[in-house]
Subunit: 135 residues, 4 copies
């Protein structure tokens, strides 16, 4: 398990925020380490209060499973192989907006979670943050 430096986590947050500003969406952005523990968090002006928790859960979901959060969501629909998985681990969020941070390596260093727009918008913003992350 690798340690993300807080300065590098902030770079990822700033890249995500820049994207959100371009898209004119106010979001919460959370970065967690590979163990799912919070590293950096930012709530943009006018972001919904409900997004504070959701962004962190999306990040934790991605870190715990090494997947984009929506991958788990697709597999946990009624009739799906992981139906109800969101009830584990203290409550997961399994729609889009959570993404692993690899920094171009083959390892998962942590994850980013974004909440505030539609889940598709959140995923675009999370991707911008993840792409800006380097180890």
């Amino acid at each position: 398990m690798r340690n993300i430096r807080s300065a590098n986590a902030r770079i990822a947050v700033d890249a995500a925020m820049k994207k959100a500003l371009e898209m004119q969406i106010a979001v919460c952005i959370a970065i967690v380490d590979a163990g799912g523990h919070l590293l950096v968090f930012l709530r943009m002006d006018r972001a919904m209060l409900g997004s504070i928790d959701i962004s962190q859960r999306k990040a934790r979901t991605s870190a715990y499973f090494g997947l984009n959060s929506e991958v788990l969501g697709h597999a946990s629909q009624p009739g799906g192989p992981f139906y109800g998985v969101e009830n584990s681990n203290g409550g997961l969020i399994t729609f889009a907006g959570g993404a692993p941070l690899t920094g171009g390596t083959s390892e998962i260093w942590g994850a980013i979670g974004v909440s505030g727009g539609t889940s598709d918008q959140d995923a675009v913003i999370a991707k911008s943050g993840a792409e800006a992350f380097s180890t």
Copy 2:
């Protein structure tokens, strides 16, 4: 209520681990007693963090209902007779990977829960553990 000896629980864990290694899947394996209380737990190298909690919930689900976890999952789909049952008991996991331990008797001595692969893979690994269990 019968008491599983910890040495026998470990034999079941080792059998499950051996199967998982053969299948080249990294899993978490949990054994609970007939009361659903944790007896032995093992997280294999590289298993997802999210599987720690899921494996234990699968085992508890099996112990609490005396069934393979997926039996409950089939009955709790939307429209099904136990729809929403996963919200009881502090949160159940109702897809495959949890199995009762009987040791060839007619009684339930405890349960094994496995998480880390697909739910079908987890069920195969749990079955190996359950078959290796003797009282």
Copy 3:
């Protein structure tokens, strides 16, 4: 309730981090708004994992009561007038390191919570953050 702008919250975090670096202590720094909701969070490299939660609880304690966290701690010792108050509100932290943010006004705009050093050190760092905060 006044809204802290996230840019101003970050200035306070940066001032606190600068002080912590001078003191050679790795801390977690949390800023909450007047409603106690997380706005900005930073975990410095090598800060203890236990401080993630404590820093946020200190900030929330200060925001909820409009006081430095240790004021509540003095009043909640055995035999004191608020004995056990830390069990309210989902769990408070009542030792030093939480401080209200007023920005020189007569109103409480939010609070800062710091954890990672001794509680005295945490209070010094929190004070640096609070003094750098402007509305």
Copy 4:
């Protein structure tokens, strides 16, 4: 943050169990990684059910703060600098029986938690486990 191999975690558990058998005390033994996540758990025959949770919380407390659990307990007595800290992080256990695992390095790789005897006995057993741990 370093990864403990599960085989090495088991060696530590076995050393702790051996010590507990010598002392004729039935305990629960938990090993967590540096992020506080469960790696290996063993409940010995006749150990109290209440020790399942306590052993895991002791281990998590040691991992989160990088200290023997009782160090935090001494500092969190009434009038002490961290009074009430046990209410953080989902509930800590701050009496003896939790110890960091360093494997003779200067880094914390995880922690061991033991519960079942007196806290002094638990600490002796945890120490045996910690001493047997190598990276």
